[in-house]
Structure formats: C-alpha cells, structure tokens
C-alpha cells in the first residue's frame, strides 16, 4: 500500500464531497434535522395524556392530588367518572389512556398511617406509553407527597402509589428526572451516525461505476485496499464531525447529562464509525447503482438501529429470539456504550464487552469489504 495513492484518493473524494450538494446535505444538514426531529418529535415523553379521574372520596386531599395531576404537563383530565365500569368503558373507547382512581379511604389512611395508595389504570395495549404514564404518575404523587410533607397543603401524611404493570425501578434509578429524552438521545446520536455514515459511503463506489470513472481507475495500478482507505478517510472525518456535533447538541441543547470520560467517548465513537463506514463501503462494493446502494444502506442501518439497537426499546424486554438477532445489529453495541457513558458514567473497563464486539465487527467488515471490491469489470 502506498500512502501517496491513498492520499490522492482521499483528497479527490474530499473535493467531490465539497462540490456535491447532495453529499453535503446528507453530511451536514441531515444530522441537525434528525437531532431536532428525533429529539423533540419522537421523544418518548408523553405530554397532555388524556386522563380520567375517579375520585371515590371527594375530599380536600383527593382534590389536591388531582389538582397536581391536572397542573402537570403530562396529564390532561378529560372527564370525571362515577364507577369502575365507566373507567373500563373510557379506556376501551380510547377516550383516555389512563385512569387515576382515588380510594374512599384515601384521607383516612393518609392521616392514620401517614401513607395511602392511589390506583392507576392504564391502557397496556401501548405498553411503552403505559409504562411511561405510570412513571409520570409516580412523580406527580411524589410531588404531592413532598408538598404535603412541607406542609404546603396544610395537612400531614404521605400517600404511596399502587401501580400496575412493569417495574420501573431501574429506569428511574439512572434517569431521576424521568425525562425520557435523556434516555433516548444518546441512542439518537448512534442512529444518526449509522445512517449518515453508511449512506454517504454507500454512494462512493457505486457513483464511480455509474459515472464511468471506475473503469479508468481500475486500469491503473491502484490497489483495492488503497481505494478503500482513501475513500474512507474523508468520510471518517465527516463522521467524527457529525458525532461531535450531535454529542454537543445532546449535552448543551437537550441538556442530557454526560457522566463518562471524553477519551472513552472519542475512542468508542471512532470505532463505531469504522464499523459503519465499512458496512457502507461493503454495500457500495456489492451494488453498482447509487439508488440501490443507498436503499440498502438505509435498510441495514435505519430499521435495525431504530428497532433493535435498544436505543428506545429496551433489548431485555424483547422476545429471546429477537434478542439474539440484536447481536448482529452493530449499533446495539454503541448504543449500549453511549447509554452507559451518558447515564452511568461507566469507564472503558466496564465497556470491554461491547468494545471488543465492535472491534470484531470492524475486522469482519473490513475483510469482507476488501474482498467485495474487485478491480474487474465482470
């Protein structure tokens, strides 16, 4: 391998990217767009959730609690119910997603034992929403409780919440603010990098086939590995730039707290980029049309990353078979790492497993890509 030729290809590619509006849009504008879209739009935070209340007590205390619910931005009380039958009907008819039921002895218990319980009925057909709603209900009740403790409400005791469904303990542990954005945004960064990186590189070889420049290039003594390296260098630089942009955006715009070391972040991000670019190059070497290559690139990055990387939907809640499939999704390792770095502040030593998995992945992809690109016309 000759550095001179690698540099020539890298330089050429960089000039072409600079002059190609489409590449520039994908490289610079798409990460921004997606951070905004996924950060705000596809946030798992549920606001103004239609809520019904069934206040069986009708006391000052129960009304104070319901006021807390109403004033929270998460819930919007749509109607007041008179019995459980109505509650079921309301949920079935989709008039509301959650029912808050306050028992007859709410105040009684509160004053007797200093604790009481509230019942939350949620429509679990949307498991995710139900979980999050219950989480919010927790926080509202917590708030009520602390206000009560401070005497803000003018009476004593503290209620506890009786919840149904999945245990929320773990999530709440690392995401105290219960802001799902903190949970999702690190994954969004991985998603964007996978998509942008694979999309850009998937075009690089197929474009040369389509434009007829490849025939001339393969008639020179340049080595396939030189072509591959030369082409990946500028995309690596763009990918790192995008990564920095996304991470800075996550921390300073969405205020996702970052707890890990910068070194670990840089190293794992670079590793992930190598995998992503390698996959893009592999696609490109296999498919000679730009349209085909970009479609495949979107298919192998966007779908698996958004569904199976664990960026929004926890892997451990998936069926065992699907969990097995996620090991093939290269983004899952990076998502795991990013979440650990952001939310737990893990060190590199804690992340050896996903890091090694990515190294292995990178090696396999590089090997396949090197073999897939042939300097031959047929």
């Amino acid at each position: 391998m000759r550095w001179r030729r690698i540099r020539a290809i890298a330089l050429k590619e960089a000039i072409q990217i600079r002059r190609d509006t489409r590449s520039l849009i994908i490289a610079l504008f798409m990460p921004f767009m997606q951070m905004i879209l996924l950060g705000y739009g596809v946030s798992l935070d549920i606001k103004h959730l239609p809520t019904c209340v069934y206040d069986r007590e009708g006391s000052q205390n129960s009304q104070a609690l319901l006021k807390h619910f109403q004033s929270s931005e998460y819930f919007r009380i749509v109607s007041v119910l008179k019995d459980y039958r109505e509650a079921k009907a309301a949920l079935d008819a989709d008039r509301c997603r959650i029912v808050v039921a306050i028992p007859q002895d709410f105040s009684q218990k509160l004053s007797d034992s200093g604790g009481s319980s509230v019942q939350v009925l949620a429509d679990a057909s949307d498991d995710n929403t139900a979980n999050i709603a219950i989480g919010y209900a927790h926080s509202v009740v917590d708030q009520f409780q602390s206000d009560l403790a401070r005497g803000a409400l003018g009476f004593g005791g503290s209620p506890s919440l009786l919840t149904q469904g999945v245990d929320l303990e773990e999530r709440v542990w690392f995401n105290e603010d219960l802001d799902s954005r903190d949970y999702i945004i690190p994954g969004v960064v991985a998603l964007i990098m996978a998509l942008v990186g694979a999309l850009l590189t998937s075009l690089t070889i197929s474009r040369e086939w389509e434009r007829g420049t490849m025939e001339l290039l393969i008639s020179t003594p340049v080595l396939p590995s030189e072509v591959m390296l030369g082409k990946l260098i500028p995309y690596f630089a763009i990918g790192m730039l995008d990564a920095v942009f996304c991470l800075v955006f996550a921390v300073y715009w969405f205020h996702v707290p970052y707890r890990g070391t910068l070194f670990a972040l840089f190293l794992t991000t670079a590793l992930f980029l190598v995998v992503v670019l390698g996959v893009g190059f592999l696609i490109s070497a296999g498919i000679k049309s730009q349209v085909g290559a970009s479609q495949i690139a979107v298919l192998v990055t966007l779908l698996p990353t958004s569904l199976l990387s664990g960026y929004a939907f926890p892997i451990d809640q998936m069926p065992p078979l699907v969990q097995g499939v996620t090991y093939v999704v290269f983004a899952r390792y990076y998502v795991t790492i990013l979440k650990a770095l952001f939310l737990k502040g893990s060190g590199l030593a804690d992340l050896m497993q996903p890091v090694l998995a990515m190294v292995a992945y990178a090696a396999v992809v590089a090997f396949l890509a090197g073999r897939a690109f042939k300097k031959r016309l047929d």
Binding site: R5, I9, G212, E215, L217, T220, P221, K375, R376
Partner: protein, 314 residues
C-alpha cells in the same frame, strides 16, 4: 515494424465469452513500437472487449496477452504500470477541475511531484488546454474532454496507449487535433492501439485490423488492405439517380449498386468491360447521366468486399 524488437502488445488466442456470444474469439496479434494499430468494426464486433482484456480490467476466458513483455492475465497490476487506457466513456471526474484530474492520476501512478510539475505545463500547452486548467472537467467540450483524457493517460509516460473509440461524437476539427497528437506520441515511441467506429478515420492508422463478430478478419496496412479490394468501383452521377440504380442493379458483373444522393455507387468485376454496358443500358432507357468515373473505394467498400469474400471462401 522491426521484427528484432519484442512486440509492445501481444495477444495470443484471446477468448472472451458472454452469455450466448463470443465477444472475442481467438484473437491473436502483435503490435510493435511506433505503431498506431487500429481496430475497426461495427459496434458489438468485440473491439471494446479486446481492449478491456488488454487493459487488464477484464480477465479473458482463455488465451494470454502481454504488454511490454508483462503478462496481463497473470500479473495485471504490474502490466498496468506500463499502459494507459482510455475507456470509451469519459472516465475522468467531471466534478474535478482539469488540474485536479491530472494531479490525481499523477499521484495514482506515483509520478514524483517535481517531475509531475515539470510535465503538466508542457502537456497542457501542447494540447491547447492551458487556459482551461481550472475549469471543471464536466464543463469541457467533447474534444477537450478527450484531450484531458489523453493528458491524464500520458502523465506517467506509458509505453502503450489503449484508446477505445476516443473520437466518437467529437467534432471533426478536434478529431484532427487529436490525431496530430497521436502522431507526435508515435514519434516519441509510444505504441498506440485505437478502436474506431469511423471507417474513414481508420485510414490514419499505420496498421489496421478489421474486426467482425469477435474475429479479426483482416490485418494489414491500409494501403495493402486497399490493394486486396476485389473488382472496381464506379460512380454514376445522374439527376435521376434512382432510375439509374434500378436500370443497372441486376446487370451481370455488377455486385452492388448503391444509391447515394445524386449518384450511384457501383461495384463491378471489370470496369473495362462493364462501363460500355452500363452506358448502353442507360442510353437505351433514356435516362440522363454523366459518364461513369472510377471511384476510390471507401473503407466501408473495402470492409464489405472483404467480408463478402471471406464468407464465400471459408
């Protein structure tokens, strides 16, 4: 060509099959230093394929080829150091400037920067491309693109140039300039193999191979090929050329009567015998005409006559 010098290009029984057809069927030839070797034939005859085999961008099914003594089939990457290939389709980067393209190929061929800088200036100016150094390649005219292709091909001073229809669709003025450059390269000892779909252009080659259906039918200097032309050709100009054609097409000894605008292009076996017969028939039919005059065979005439002959005597 001096037989003492080893051939710069040598093809031995090259075969390339595509589903259903022999694109190249046992082609053998050798080209020496200082030759401009032309491959002529219609599209689909196998010209492009044989050039691709020689350029090492497509492996043959069987047979072998050497470029400057290096086996292209066994060691294509080494052979590529001595050759330059210009594909039929413009192969340079249209979104790079003239200068950027040249530098890119200089780097790919590892031309030392000091030598590269020495070469670029004279190449650009001798090709008349100096004013366009900073223009994007995509914004050049067809003729200028081909010149840029040639500059990039020459930056590493190859010994063999493989040109696949470099002048197709290029305006005649640029085509002439292009051929002047080829002749000056020949002076410098570059061996050139060129394919062309323009039969009249083929006459500019020092040696010519007629390619037909994957087979090299004839291979010789244009003058000697011309001498192989059987029979004679006549032109009969007439204001009623169509009637002339009808009247004489089926006369004995006439193998072809082609209507071309205001004249009929006639192929006869013996002009001394047939001219009086033609004159007699036309006079009897009261068709106005100018006396038949002998015509130089065009490359197309030659090509057709040779192929016809080949078919009748296998």
């Amino acid at each position: 060509m001096s037989p003492a010098l080893p051939p710069r290009i040598e093809a031995r029984k090259l075969v390339k099959r595509f589903p259903g057809v022999f694109a190249v069927n046992e082609m053998s030839f050798s080209v020496g230093e200082g030759e401009i070797f032309g491959l002529v034939g219609p599209d689909g005859a196998g010209k492009t394929t044989v050039i691709r085999l020689l350029a090492g961008v497509m492996p043959p099914d069987s047979g072998s080829a050497t470029i400057d003594g290096v086996d292209v089939v066994a060691d294509p990457e080494r052979a590529k150091q001595f050759l330059s290939y210009m594909p039929q389709r413009f192969g340079l980067y249209e979104d790079l400037t003239v200068d950027e393209n040249i530098r890119f190929y200089a780097d790919i061929f590892e031309v030392a920067p000091s030598i590269r800088d020495q070469r670029i200036g004279p190449l650009l100016s001798s090709f008349g491309m100096a004013p366009f150094q900073r223009r994007l390649a995509g914004q050049l005219s067809g003729g200028m693109k081909q010149k840029l292709g040639l500059i990039c091909a020459l930056i590493h001073t190859p010994r063999v140039l493989l040109l696949d229809e470099p002048t197709t669709g290029v305006d005649p003025v640029s085509r002439r300039d292009f051929w002047k450059i080829l002749y000056s390269l020949r002076e410098q000892g570059v061996t050139i193999l060129i394919s062309t779909a323009y039969l009249e252009e083929a006459e500019r080659c020092t040696r010519l191979a007629l390619v037909h259906q994957g087979v090299m039918a004839y291979c010789d200097t244009p003058a000697r090929l011309r001498a192989m032309m059987p029979g004679k050709l006549l032109n009969v100009v007439s204001s009623q050329a169509r009637d002339v054609q009808k009247a004489i097409a089926s006369l004995p000894g006439i193998s072809g009567a082609l209507l071309m605008g205001d004249r009929v292009h006639v192929a006869v076996d013996d002009d001394g015998r047939r001219i009086p017969e033609i004159v007699r028939v036309l006079e009897e039919a009261h068709i106005p005409f100018e006396p038949p005059v002998p015509a130089e065979p065009t490359m197309e005439d030659l090509f057709l006559a040779l192929l016809r002959e080949r078919r009748t005597s296998p």
